[in-house]
Every structure is written in C-alpha cells, then in structure tokens.
C-alpha cells in the first residue's frame, strides 16, 4: 500500500509518505481526507501528487495555504513539483517593488 497525507481539507495536493510509488498505483489518502488517487507517473516519498485537475496559473494549496502557482495544467494523479510549479509569494524581489 502506498499512502499520501493531506494536511488540510482545502489542499489540492497530498504528500506521499511511502517509497516507490509508480505510475498506475492507487495511492490511499490519509490525514484530513480519505479516498484514493491513481498516479499518472512515478512519484517518490516526500513528493506531492495532485488530488484534482489544477489549471495553468492556478494556486497550489498545501497546509491550507498557497505554496506556489502552476506553470502548466496539471491532471489529478500527476507529480506536482518544480517542473510545473513556481514560487509566487514571499519573494524579497517582488515584495520590495510593491
């Protein structure tokens, strides 16, 4: 069994807490949500999976807070990481301009 933990009910990603999750694996959700999500690709321990489709430029939510925005459309079950998410807030360069 491969598990992923959801830290807040409003999150659109879950963090895998088991190793070796391969494409086609059905990951069982834990924490603040139950259910399953089928992986569309390999995702390692500690990395995030999308719980639902996330449009390009939309917020990625973990801990109930925005951790970045997508740079491409993401489907449920896809790996959510630096290849499709960019930092959005809390950047000193952006803060100083505002």
């Amino acid at each position: 069994m491969v598990r992923a933990i959801v830290l807040n009910p409003s999150d659109n990603v879950a963090t895998l807490i088991d190793n070796g999750a391969a494409a086609a694996t059905a990951v069982e959700l834990r924490g603040e949500r139950t259910g399953k999500v089928a992986l569309k690709q390999d995702i390692p321990f500690g990395h995030k999976v999308a719980l639902a489709a996330i449009a390009k430029g939309a917020d990625v939510i973990k801990y109930g807070k925005v951790i970045g925005e997508t740079t491409a459309a993401i489907q449920a079950g896809e790996h959510v990481h630096v290849h499709n998410v960019d930092s959005k807030r809390g950047r000193g360069d952006k803060l100083k301009k505002s």
């Binding site: 598990r3 933990i5 830290l7 963090t15 895998l16 807490i17 834990r30 924490g31 390692p44 321990f45 500690g46 990395h47 995030k48 990625v60 973990k62 801990y63 807070k65 925005v66 951790i67 970045g68 959510v80 990481h81 630096v82 998410v85 960019d86 930092s87 959005k88 807030r89 809390g90 950047r91 000193g92 803060l95």
Partner: protein
C-alpha cells in the same frame, strides 16, 4: 483537556515549572568560578556566557538584557551572580532584584581571588538551595504558561508530523488562556506574507514583516542572500517545491491562533496568546532568547535528531521520523511517528502532546535535563573593543 498544572508561585506572581538556583556569569572571564560554585551546590545550574567584557552599544545591552532575563525567569528560585567587579555585576543584579526573588553577587576582585569567590558563592547558593527546597508546587491555571517553540535537524517528517502536531498543541494551550513564542526569523522567509495574515492587527502585521526584512537586510550587509538559494537542492530532492512550502512546514508549529505581538530577542510577552520573537535560528542561541523572554518550557521538533536544551528552560524533543525514534532514542522525549506510520490523526497526536507539555510543567523531566545536554549562547552582531 487539562487546564492546570503544578508550579512554583514566585514573589512577583510568575509561576516556575522548575525550582532551580541559577549561578550566573556576568562575563566570560568568570565562567570557571561560576562552574565551580554550581558543581558544589545541588539544585543549582551554571549559566555561563561568552564576551560581555569589551562589548558595547546594542551588543552590550542585548547581553545584559538576556542575562537579566534568564535571571528573572520564574524557573529560578534564586540567583547568584558572579562578576569580576561591582559595576557591571550590579547592572544585571538590579534588573533581577525587581522580581523579588533572592539575588546575591560574588565579586571576585573584592573577595581577593577565585578561591575565596568560589567559597563565597557556594555558601550563598547553598543557602538559597535549602530555602528553595521549602517551596511546594501548587495547582495553577494553564494561562500562567509561556511555551517556547523551536525546531532543528528538520526533515520531510518535520513539516508533515512534528510541526503540525505541535501547532495543534499550541492552539490548545492558547485556547486555554496560555501563551506561546515562535522565533527563528530566517525560517519565515518565503512565507512571511502568509504568516503576516495571522496578525491580529495592522501594527503587529507591519512589525512582523519588518522583523523579517531587517533580518534579511542584516545578512545582506555581510553579502549573504538567505532567501535566494531556497529551497536548496537537498530540499528539492526531498520533495519541497517552493520556499513558501518549506517555510510553511516550519511555521506549522505556531498553530492557527492570531499573532498578538512581536518581540525583540529575549523580550518578555506582555499579552496572552501567540507571539513572534525576532532571533537567530541556531538552537542554543534561540533557546537562550526564549528562556530570557520568560518561557518556562519549550517544545523542540526534530526530524533527523537534535540533542541540545537550555540550562533553565526544560526543552522537550519530539519527532515524527520513525528512524530517529528507533536510532536516536536517548535524546527524544515524545514520539509522533504514528502520524505517518499508523495513520494517527495530527489532532490526536497534538492532544497527547498538549497533555505531555503540562506533565513537563508539573515536573516531568526531559532528556536534555536528565542527560545535562544544556548550553547558553547570547546573540551578538558586532566586534568587541
């Protein structure tokens, strides 16, 4: 949920969770005498320091304030302050005396050297230890507690289990009328605007953001860009995508209640509720600021393992990493690995942690105390002259 613990009521109304005699150096050149006195008095702890002599301006004031703050901490029933000469020693002694607790000084120049000073200090601290032993714990409300929040040796499990569980316990403590202090300014970088939304009003929000930007600017003056390289390649391999995510994992330990005020390093909260203290992240220095700021105890989350505690403020290590629980058991106080291993709810682990915090407050000893893994370090910024 419990709403009280057993503590020692002090003359100024504060409540201690320990009943120690502090033997404190006023500067580094008297540390051997401080240690010799404490070695010979049961129930005492040595509070040594580095520098002070030759410090000036902001650094000197921060050292004096921090030493005095440690002396005023209600976990100390009495304080013996060791100094070379009268003037500097009395500056700190006077700032502790206003608590009403016994304060004595040991002046090495006036006593004719270290042998006489050690004997004088043992006699004074010994009498204090006997007097303190006559005090008894009494039932006091949780609203008397100030909890320090710290993390170190963090890993993926810190953001998934340790810090969220501590955040839940912090929420319970504050709901019961208590106070918590989160520090380690650098850990907020990248999510400071998110945490700022937790501020109770505009003044606190601005003060918090200023504290983070000032910290960054100070580092920048030395040519160090703290924010630029985060998350580091290790973090990215571990699954952390953005600096916001990394910072959110760390700040989860602060819980969800409003941020009521912003404190300087070693400043004491004047309100109930969640506070932020500006300060460095390394644990010894950070814990010293929390203890000087009146925190009676601290919960310290760790992923891969960190051992250190504070001389006067019990510091409990909690971990959600099953490998650390198995391979590092001597230095871990509380296990929240069931969150990841057995699907225990974060809220359930947090409820249990809250009760454990009250146990420590009532006298349960932490590993850092039992094994004497304790140290003191005060922040400094400039050169000595």
């Amino acid at each position: 949920m419990s709403d009280s613990f057993l503590g020692y009521r002090r003359p100024d109304g504060q409540v201690g969770v320990r009943n120690l005699i502090g033997v404190m150096s006023i500067m580094d050149n008297v540390n051997p005498v401080t240690r010799a006195i404490s070695d010979n008095v049961a129930g005492s702890v040595p509070i040594t320091t580095l520098f002070v002599r030759g410090q000036y301006g902001k650094d000197l004031e921060m050292s004096y304030n921090t030493l005095a703050g440690m002396g005023r901490n209600p976990n100390l029933a009495g304080v013996v302050i060791v100094g070379l000469e009268r003037t500097s020693t009395n500056i700190v002694a006077d700032r502790v005396r206003n608590t009403g607790k016994p304060v004595e000084t040991v002046l090495i120049q006036e006593l004719g050297g270290t042998v006489n000073a050690t004997a004088d200090g043992i006699r004074k601290a010994g009498k204090m230890a006997i007097a303190a032993s006559k005090l008894r714990r009494e039932k006091v409300p949780v609203s008397e507690l100030i909890l320090g929040l710290e993390c170190g040796g963090s890993d993926t499990t810190s953001g998934l289990a340790g810090n969220p569980a501590l955040g839940h316990a912090t929420d319970l403590l504050i709901a019961a009328g208590g106070t918590a202090v989160v520090t380690e300014t650098a850990e907020f970088m990248g999510a400071e605007e998110i945490f700022a939304e937790q501020a109770i009003d505009e003044r606190v929000k601005k003060a918090f953001l200023k504290a983070v930007l000032d910290h960054e600017a100070t580092a920048m003056q030395s040519g160090v860009d703290i924010r630029g390289a985060n998350p580091v390649p290790d973090n990215i391999r571990g699954g952390l995508t953005t600096i916001e995510e990394k910072a959110l994992g760390a700040m989860a330990k602060a819980g969800t209640t409003p941020l009521v005020d912003v404190l300087e390093y070693s400043e004491v909260p004047r309100k109930k509720g969640l506070h932020f203290m500006a300060g460095a992240a390394p644990a010894v220095e950070s814990l010293t600021g929390l203890a000087a700021g009146g925190c009676q105890l601290c919960v310290f989350t760790t992923g891969v393992g960190n051992t250190i505690g504070n001389m006067i403020m019990p510091t409990a290590k909690i971990s959600g990493n099953i490998n650390t629980i198995r391979n590092f058991p001597d230095n871990i106080d509380f296990d929240v690995s069931d969150i990841l291993e057995k699907d225990k709810a974060i809220s359930t682990a947090g409820d249990e942690l809250y009760e454990y915090i009250l146990d420590i407050a009532s006298g349960t000893v932490t590993t850092a105390e039992a094994l004497k893994q304790q140290e003191t370090a005060i922040s400094r910024f400039g050169l000595t002259i």
